[in-house]
Symmetry: C2
Subunit: 316 residues, 2 copies
């Protein structure tokens, strides 16, 4: 069960921080860029090499203080097939270091095509009678619910077969998320609430020994009131919380997605970890060359801040 594997790692590291590896070129320290661009042939290949080198440095520095990394597919696809290779290489390296890998790909399509996506990200494929083999073999992937269960079911089946997980978009962290998600139906329910009910229902058969389902949800830290509401609608879903840090969500906001057992959510931070070396609180202590140490310091700071906020949340 993905949910149990995740919880085991969270407990071992006393951390529910997920490091988001969304490596925009402008985040990457100049010496890494310089090295990659001296070494490689074409600019896409160089960019992909720089991304991988940056990710590797970050992973080496934080693998013992986070249970998982989240790779935002867009920032790899941007560099073509070379970027996609860097995505795979990063995922493999993270797994070697004992991290769970969440592919943030927000995929969605109708049944047979959803199956192809699921095979690509968390499942297996068989070509011409060869034995089943993994392509990316991520531990979990994010999916979009606009197409209903047809687009989700193949992923759920693979979660069951291969001990994987998915996080279904429920209430996203962006400003305009309400344009569709906050619409209220004639029964007085919001769309995000209806999706949340589906998540709970779809996940019922995949609840692990810790009481959490491998069918999780995405709920932004930028909407703390909705997060509180959604926590009680989706009692068994593990919630992936984006929007902390650079997007404006605080530790107290993020704490709304936890249950009283101190579990139930993982908090993603991308920019604030990757660019810690540029941040006001760290830039005097760490040089650009020490980007990995700065990332570690920020991850630990964030871990402790969230752990305190979660404990506080359930006191008095």
């Amino acid at each position: 069960m993905f949910a149990d594997r995740l919880i085991e790692s969270i407990k071992a590291k006393n951390s529910c921080v997920v490091a988001g590896l969304d490596p925009r070129i402008e985040y990457i320290p100049s010496q890494i860029l310089k090295k990659a661009f001296n070494y490689c042939g074409t600019d896409l290949k160089c960019a992909a090499q720089a991304i991988y080198d940056f990710n590797k440095g970050l992973i080496d520095s934080i693998y013992d203080v986070v249970p998982a990394v989240k790779l935002q597919s867009a920032y790899y696809e941007m560099y073509g097939a070379d970027g996609v290779k860097a995505f795979y290489k990063t995922a493999n390296y993270a797994k070697k270091k004992g991290l769970l890998v969440i592919a943030d790909a927000k995929r969605n399509d109708i049944g047979t095509t959803a199956q192809a996506y699921s095979s690509a990200f968390i499942g297996k494929i068989s070509i011409e009678g060869t034995t089943l083999r993994s392509v990316l073999d991520a531990d979990a992937v994010t999916v979009n619910p606009y197409l209903g269960i047809d687009g989700i079911k193949p992923f759920i089946e693979d979660c069951n077969k291969y001990r994987k997980g998915i996080f279904i978009l429920v209430k996203t962290s962006n400003k305009s998320s309400g344009q569709i998600q906050d619409l209220v139906t004639k029964d007085g329910k919001t769309i995000y609430e209806i999706v949340a009910n589906h998540v709970e229902e779809w996940g019922a058969s995949l609840i692990g020994k810790n009481g959490y389902s491998s069918i999780g949800a995405v709920v932004g830290a930028t909407y703390p009131n909705q997060a509180k509401e959604l926590r009680s609608v989706m009692k068994h879903a593990y919630i992936l919380v984006p929007g902390y840090g650079a997007q404006g969500g605080t530790a107290e906001d993020a704490a709304n997605s936890f249950n009283e057992d101190g579990l139930g959510a993982i908090i993603n931070a991308s920019r604030s970890i990757m660019c810690a070396y540029k941040a006001d609180i760290w830039k005097d202590k760490y040089t650009e060359n020490q980007f990995a140490e700065a990332a570690r310091a920020e991850t630990i700071r964030m871990r402790d801040e969230i752990n305190i906020a979660v404990k506080k949340q359930f006191k008095g």
Copy 2:
């Protein structure tokens, strides 16, 4: 303007059929598979080679009877970075043959990440001060509206900058599409209708000389009544219609997405074109080796059938 480029090609070829290149291994004739698997090193590479060879054969046979091809990204991503390369190679080859390329990727994410996706599919990137360059350079891409305008705007900006198009999922062709899309708000509007209103509004600044916007929509042929309704809500949107053929939509169903000028929609068929050589109506006339000829025969049959249905639709 993408919409004008599309219309020009539709008129030149008297065809609004889009050939969907969703190359599942089981669609590919055995001699192509055999050749690719003899030639290549690893199984993913072989699969990617077979996909490209199959696509090339299809494109060579139908490029003069369709205005565009639609590449379903999932069936390429399934074969890893090699599959992604086959996606690029197919897109490039199709463009060389004068076809417009629609990337069916259903991407969606928050602002900056949506920008990265848009750059990957229809926009351009700049690395370390190099001049802007294209990655995939498709003519259009499908996008999912669940995140609201934040996730759409970067695509619209690139449509404007680079004469590209998008097709926003409104009412998808699958069985469970109603689970979210058919929900009725307290104002008595369905979600798909609300999304359709947004499409019309978001596309207002990109209307070309033929009266159609480069911000289009996806509406399944499997929901003809909704298609009729949506045609009148989104007067200026070009509508990409999946669900014809293997999924059950008829030419008469598809005709609901057209306007009286005989324009306004393109009809996708994937399986019925790619697997024409296996279909009851063609399998006695064409061998497996003649898959390309069978695809052409089916495309022409479909083109004529739809042209007749569209004309009939607006007669008395």
